[in-house]
Symmetry: C2
Subunit: 136 residues, 2 copies
Amino acid sequence: MRTPARLSPEDLLCAHGLRPTRQRRALAALLFTGAGRHIDAQTLHAEATRADEKLSLATVYNALRAFEQAGLIHRVAVPGERVWFDTGTGAHGHFYIETENRVLDMPKGAPIRPPAGYRVTRIETVVHLERAADDD
Amino acid sequence: MRTPARLSPEDLLCAHGLRPTRQRRALAALLFTGAGRHIDAQTLHAEATRADEKLSLATVYNALRAFEQAGLIHRVAVPGERVWFDTGTGAHGHFYIETENRVLDMPKGAPIRPPAGYRVTRIETVVHLERAADDD
DNA sequence: ATAGCTGCAAATGCTTTGCAAGGCC
DNA sequence: GGCCTTGCAAAGCATTTGCAGCTAT
């Protein structure tokens, strides 16, 4: 129960100590619409603009950083020039299609089965570590 | 037999269709010294410079790209501002210590066991896909 | 000799930041 | 009212690229 998509964007923000400004509510509404999403700052900004929300790109970056620090989203580790964010906290597996610069969710627990028309070129696992407190 | 660390840097380059220039030989010597390494362009440039090799940063970038295209190295999928390259083609598992911006090799096949003093915060799997030829 | 590499510096593209004005509690 | 957030534009940083000169074959 980390990203309760059932909460309103406002409650979601409040629950994570984030001030529910208009811009953040709009972004949250775009990001947490049910299933997990993968998106980068610029695309999100374009989406928000298309949804008649006036906000600057810098604000999107700021909001994404705030969301990340709050644990609502996290960066996806795909090699590339842009940073991808993932709104799903449950499924940590991703398909990455380099030639199309696309990221797809991978059903968790299921055996790896690429979408039709694609084949696996490489599987990469990254285990994120943190210093344990008792070894300082 | 993809990155035969036994070959001389020159032979290694030739075997992959790369012209063995002085700069590339120097970089190859730094990169393929036995075990797999993880490094980014800037650090590699610093190392080369420290080893009395005069080469420009742009050349390091160009060489890394050439090496990558030749299949000698590949990018590591860590979220961050820099691109990390991995010289090991056998082990695809990595530990990533965000707070220290460090990448470690993970013994392949073995169960995930973080180094002493660290604990796992997240496991991320990225499956790289490519369009299969029969779906065009 | 020729095709490919290197070096320098400028350009590019994403992301961050400084500072003034506005919004939330 | 006070503090956090926004907005704009400029700065920052990693990476790429253009072009002249050099090097390996």
